[in-house]
């Protein structure tokens, strides 16, 4: 038992430097343009986004198309505007490129997404950067999960300053 453990630890440490290396097989996510806010970084806490971003987008798409609710917090357009920023060479990746924010993980996990067969995969205006919205934050079922009341309050009171 002990031997097995030692072997396991050895094996893990042997691979550690590899995974930290730039040529690692793990996806390297491009940086977002800006933090949504200091507490949550993204429009929801990062770990919530990693797990549930598809639910947010799915929820929002029905609200927007069928009801005409056009809040920006969970809109796919805003994801693209912030996460698919032009690189240092001022090129903007398209959904087929492995550098595209969505593709990096979706290629790695072999999950095919159809979003960009209809939706734009690049920001319309590359200078654009969104600011925090929205009234809907307080009520959202995912939003309330991992946040303390102070953070929620802060998020709810922040004004929409979109241009």
């Amino acid at each position: 038992m002990l031997l097995r453990k030692i072997i396991f630890i050895l094996a893990v440490t042997a691979f550690l430097p590899l995974s930290a290396h730039a040529d690692s097989l793990l996806p390297e996510l491009p940086k977002a343009k800006k933090n949504y806010n200091d507490q949550t970084k993204c429009v929801e806490p990062v770990e919530v986004m990693r797990k549930s971003h598809m639910d947010f987008i799915m929820h929002q798409r029905d609200d927007t198309l069928r009801k005409g609710i056009r809040t920006k917090q969970h809109s796919l357009k805003e994801c693209i505007d912030c996460h698919n920023a032009p690189g240092k060479d001022l090129k903007v990746a398209s959904a087929n490129d492995s550098e595209h924010f969505c593709s990096t993980c979706h290629v790695y996990t072999a999950v095919q997404i159809d979003c960009f067969k209809c939706h734009a995969d690049k920001p319309e205006n590359t200078q654009y950067r969104h600011k925090i919205t929205s009234q809907a934050f307080k009520q959202h079922k995912f939003a309330a999960q991992n946040l303390n009341p102070k953070t929620l309050q802060l998020l709810a009171t922040e004004k929409e300053g979109h241009k």
């Binding site: 029905d62 609200d63 009801k67 609710i69 056009r70 939706h119 734009a120 009234q135």
Partner: protein
């Protein structure tokens, strides 16, 4: 007893005062120039759903529509990123110009024809996946997330207003995807503009061209330009016999 009456009267007076104050404020807003003029109606807050208190529609004057002019079509396709693929038989047409010739007098008229945004849309009736849908405010749309491309709606539409997209798209402006049906959205992104509904691209282009043959507005608002014009001059539906109660009306059709 009398005191009680006085009290309730006082309350009523208070209500009256509040009510009057509010109505005056609204009147003041409406009178103030430039405030309302830029937008067709009051803005819907972005986090609120479209409501059935509005019904968006178009009014088209066939006499003012110029036969040589195609600017509404160009503007629509420019606005919505509707590009052709060199296949004239299948390329999407969200709006097209239709030429009408009177057999007896040979009078020629042209009119723009697009989705008529029916109150009882046949395309919605036949859709097997509920992708073809009508918004609360009367805008008929295709939910491409649910569309399976069966094209029943295209067959059901008496106006031939819908198109099927055969080719894959890239660099699209608004969502457009291969294998789905699409049609005029009444520029729904402009209707939902946080600064208030704006004229659709076709109307804007028609005005810019100086023909001013199209009006956009709320058919349920008695004070909107479109309702006033309809009330004064009347307007007809194309294929009114079908009882679809279209949101697009025409004037001076011969």
């Amino acid at each position: 007893m009398s005191r009680k009456t006085n009290q309730s009267e006082g309350k009523i007076n208070q209500y009256r005062r509040n009510f009057l104050a509010r109505t005056t404020a609204i009147a003041g807003m409406t009178v103030a120039p430039g405030v309302i003029l830029n937008s067709v109606a009051q803005a819907k807050p972005v986090d609120q759903p479209a409501s059935n208190k509005n019904r968006w529609g178009l009014l088209i004057d066939a006499n003012k529509c110029s036969s040589g002019c195609n600017s509404c079509v160009t503007a629509c396709h420019e606005e919505n990123g509707v590009t052709g693929f060199g296949n004239p038989e299948t390329d999407a047409q969200w709006i097209r110009k239709v030429k009408l010739t009177d057999k007896q007098t040979q009078k020629v008229q042209t009119i723009p024809l697009m989705c008529q945004h029916c109150e009882h849309p046949p395309c919605v009736d036949v859709c097997p996946t509920n992708a073809s849908m009508k918004r609360e405010d009367g805008v008929v749309l295709v939910d491409k997330h649910a569309c399976i491309g069966c094209r029943y709606c295209m067959m059901a539409c008496p106006y031939g207003a819908r198109s099927f997209l055969h080719e894959p798209t890239t660099e699209q402006k608004y969502p457009r995807g291969q294998g789905t049906v699409e049609s005029c959205t009444l520029c729904v992104h402009r209707i939902d503009d946080p600064n208030g509904p704006r004229n659709p691209a076709c109307v804007e282009a028609c005005n810019a061209e100086g023909h001013k043959a199209m009006w956009f507005g709320d058919l349920k608002d008695p004070n909107s330009e479109i309702t006033k014009r309809l009330k004064e001059y009347g307007g007809v539906q194309i294929r009114a016999d079908l009882g679809l109660n279209t949101g697009v009306r025409y004037q001076n059709l011969s």
